[in-house]
């Protein structure tokens, strides 16, 4: 059984082309920046036939060359990926095999883009995202990881091996090493990105690690937003003592060095005392409170309808809340097992709580600032004159108008939460040590980093790309929401 090379037979044609295009691209970018320092920017004129003019000559060529070369680069990379998808296993090397494994992700991405671009005018802010190149790239990267996480964990597709099973003889082996007793060229015949210190498959662990992030980060960010909004809007709207006290508390948490807080909160001893469970009980009640106030403010004028809607929604949420915080074996074990909908592993709960706890003061400050600004607007005065209650004004007049900056910050904050989760994993806090999440994998890989860099690099690059994608997405959203 042969080991795989990086690009296989595709590489004979594509590798030199890639090198050439990348080199030229780098040169072109440098040239362009240098000329832009010397030459005045060109102002395009509208020609009589309606087209725009462009600069000709050598300078014009220098200005446009990076664009052409970038397209060439993209085409070559696409060549690797599509080639790998079509060619039989093993012919297109490691990259081809990975691309083949990721086929469902590529198809899902393609479908998402085709549908979204086709109907982008009817999709509001989401549709506008597809007018901005940066936003599209960011969205693409984020969705790539979301689909990868989904297909690999729920669908059980992408990973080639079990993330915990060890194959003897593959300890610290380089990418593309064949599994000893595999007989034919098929999926699972190689460790595509090599083996780690415990002879587990790096590729499968990286792919399944994305699920750990995708499952925790957005949800934790959402809870942080619920806490921040529920406290921040009244603080900004009422001001006074309430604002002083809440801002003091928020600054208190913000002055805490994050890592010290993690070390104090996420230890087995603290978990034993039940402090995380109490914190969970406090932090997770905010979404219920928020929904209660939101619906009550809206339907206050029609008591029968209000009672029905509030009763049903809050009943369901309260049940979910109670089963969330009730855990057998901890201080909070009050719900009988028949009524307990689900149990979260205690490790995950601690991580979740501490991440929400660290994030919510920042959200509070942002929401408070926005509310301070928005409550001086005319529509707020108009609502006050109409005799609307304060909570209606806060949640149905002010909050919807603050959504632009909040959505942008939401994206950035998911990225930040991802970094925090990685930090926790890096210090071996909270998550179980064999967990495939990226932080823990980097932590394990770093011990032999200078001899075997390949186990630590894939999770590091994966984390980098996901956070980068979220930042680009936020940038695109900001650009598009400022435009109208």
């Amino acid at each position: 059984m042969d080991n795989l090379t990086w690009t296989g037979s595709l590489g004979t044609l594509l590798n030199p082309a890639l090198l050439l295009a990348a080199g030229l691209f780098a040169i072109a970018i440098v040239l362009q920046i240098l000329t832009s320092l010397v030459v005045e920017p060109y102002r395009a004129q509208t020609l009589p036939d309606g087209r725009l003019s462009r600069r000709g000559g050598a300078i014009g060529l220098i200005e446009r060359a990076p664009q052409y070369l970038l397209w060439a680069l993209i085409l070559i990379v696409l060549g690797y990926l599509v080639g790998g998808m079509i060619a039989p296993y093993g012919k297109a090397g490691i990259i081809g095999a990975i691309s083949k494994q990721l086929t469902p992700v590529w198809l899902a991405l393609l479908a998402t883009y085709v549908v979204s671009i086709r109907y982008k005018r009817r999709l509001g802010l989401y549709g506008k995202l597809f007018d901005s190149t940066v936003g599209m790239i960011g969205f693409g990267i984020v969705m790539f990881w979301v689909y990868t996480a989904f297909f690999s964990s729920v669908g059980g597709m992408i990973a080639t091996h079990d993330p915990l099973s060890q194959v003897s003889g593959l300890k610290n082996k380089l990418p593309g090493t064949a599994v000893p007793n595999a007989t034919d060229f098929a999926m699972g015949a190689h460790y595509l990105l090599g083996g780690d210190n415990l002879a587990r498959d790096v590729f499968s662990r990286m792919v399944l690690g994305s699920w750990e992030v995708v499952k925790i980060a957005p949800l934790a960010t959402m809870f942080a937003f619920m806490v921040g909004i529920t406290l921040g809007v009244p603080a900004g709207y009422y001001g006074g003592k309430l604002d002083t006290v809440l801002s003091f508390l928020a600054n208190l948490i913000l002055a805490f060095p994050v890592i010290l807080l993690f070390y104090l909160l996420v230890t087995p001893e603290i978990v034993m005392t039940g402090i995380p469970s109490y914190m969970a009980a406090v932090l997770f009640v905010f979404p219920v409170l928020f929904a209660l106030v939101l619906l009550n403010a809206r339907f206050r004028t029609d008591p029968t309808k209000r009672n029905l809607i509030v009763g049903v929604v809050i009943g369901a949420m309260a049940w979910a809340y109670l089963s969330l915080i009730s855990q057998p074996g901890t201080v909070m074990a009050f719900l009988p097992a028949a009524l307990d909908l689900y149990n979260i592993p205690p490790g995950i709960l601690v991580v979740f709580v501490s991440v929400v706890f660290v994030n919510s003061p920042t959200v509070f400050r942002i929401v408070r600032g926005l509310t301070l600004d928005l409550s001086t607007r005319d529509y707020v005065a108009a609502a006050q004159t109409r005799g609307e209650g304060p909570w209606y004004i806060m949640l149905w007049e002010i909050l919807p108008n603050a959504r632009g900056p909040l959505i942008v910050d939401f994206c950035l904050r998911i990225g930040y939460t991802t970094i925090l989760l990685g930090t926790l994993g890096f210090f071996g806090l909270g998550l179980p040590p064999e967990s495939p999440d990226w932080g823990s994998t980097i932590n394990e890989g770093r011990k032999l980093l200078s001899i075997y860099p390949h186990p630590a690099l894939p999770p590091a690059l994966a984390l980098l790309s996901l956070v980068l994608g979220l930042n680009l997405l936020a940038d695109g959203l900001r650009e598009e929401s400022l435009r109208d």
């Binding site: 805490f256 060095p257 104090l264 990225g415 210090f427 075997y452 590091a460 980098l464």
Partner: protein
């Protein structure tokens, strides 16, 4: 102005008290004390023995009294233990109960004794802090000027190719946490398998002898993450200033672009980044902990990890006092500095 500073200092002291109390409470929880008793006394102690051990040393009293003693506002305990020995907070070997001072807490300069390093906490904190000061100083020296230059260059012509290239670069650096950039740097520059082998992957030798080879990677790793953020803030501030009326006036008068940027725009554009740089200190502290762990540089962050990992209560308290102090002081400086730098507030 004086009243403003006084109020800020008051809030700062209140915050510091609250934070240290939280740390004190969390480190003095029962399971932590039990672990302490078992590591210091005997790993196979029974529950009663643990209880006696703790009560002999005054650990079983209410938290606020212990906190007051630790702070140095309440007199230290003197307890005659169940085994007949007299133990006191202020009693050390060779000091009799009569000679010992009554108060011995943080305020008196007694930071306690580290159970891991077997040394006075204040001494270790000083040694480790001086190591980290070296790292922080180099980071600031690299990060601040380059971030400001990148931000100003990007912000002076909004939307130009230079702006877009530099902005993309800063987004990439803000998306790269230290444990990712550190791993990448070590692989590229230090790995013996594939790397260029320009620098050392470990900074242990930099503690005595700081050289370009062993200190570049840790400094770059910390600097990179903060750099993108400061550069973006500077760029935002710069683009705002460049659209101001007085810049247009200067252009219309025929001042050259270079003079506009250097003489008219730069000073006003650097007010906002000052606050940002000051507020970066808490984040730098995080970065320092990660980088010192990754590069095995035994500084302040490394001490934090050791103290927290080994249940070294007094050490952990000392470390948190220092870090809370650093964070709050930089916040204070940033507040006062902003008022001082901004001519609109300063003159009115």
């Amino acid at each position: 102005m004086g009243l403003f500073v006084l109020r800020r200092v008051g809030v700062m002291i209140l915050t510091a008290l609250c934070l240290t109390f939280v740390v004190f409470y969390l480190t003095n929880l029962d399971p932590n004390l039990e672990k302490l008793a078992k590591t210091q006394g005997n790993a196979r102690m029974s529950d009663e023995q643990v209880q006696t051990w703790l009560s002999n040393r005054g650990y079983d009293r209410p938290d606020y009294i212990k906190y007051g003693e630790w702070l140095g506002v309440l007199p230290g305990y003197v307890i005659e233990g169940a085994d007949g020995d007299i133990r006191g907070r202020c009693l050390r070997a060779g000091v009799t109960a009569e000679d010992a001072p009554r108060f011995c807490g943080i305020l008196q300069g007694d930071w306690g004794f580290s159970t891991v390093f077997k040394e006075d906490v204040s001494k270790i904190v000083m040694i480790r802090l001086s190591q980290t000061a070296k790292l922080m100083g180099m980071v600031m020296l690299v990060m601040v000027p380059s971030a400001l230059i990148i931000g100003v260059l990007a912000g002076m012509r909004e939307g130009s190719r230079l702006d877009r290239t530099l902005s993309t670069a800063s987004i990439v650096t803000t998306a790269t946490p230290e444990y990712v950039s550190g791993v990448l740097f070590i692989t590229i520059f230090a790995s013996s398998a594939v790397g260029l082998k320009w620098f050392n992957g470990s900074a242990t030798s930099a503690m005595e002898n700081m050289t370009f080879v062993n200190f570049t990677l840790p400094v770059m790793t910390v600097a990179l993450y903060g750099m993108g953020y400061i550069a973006r803030m500077t760029r935002a501030s710069m683009t705002e200033v460049m659209t101001a009326q007085y810049i247009r006036t200067a252009r219309l008068k025929g001042v050259s672009f270079r003079n506009i940027v250097i003489k008219h725009a730069l000073r006003n554009a650097l007010i906002a980044p000052f606050t940002v740089i000051m507020l970066q200190f808490p984040w730098l502290l995080n970065g320092v902990v990660i980088v010192e762990t990754l590069f095995n540089f035994k500084g302040f962050g490394w001490t934090l990890v050791q103290a927290a990992g080994n249940n070294d209560i007094e050490m952990l308290l000392g470390v948190s006092v220092v870090s809370v102090f650093v964070v709050l002081t930089t916040q204070l400086i940033s507040d006062i500095g902003y008022v001082f730098l901004n001519p609109r507030i300063r003159i009115s």
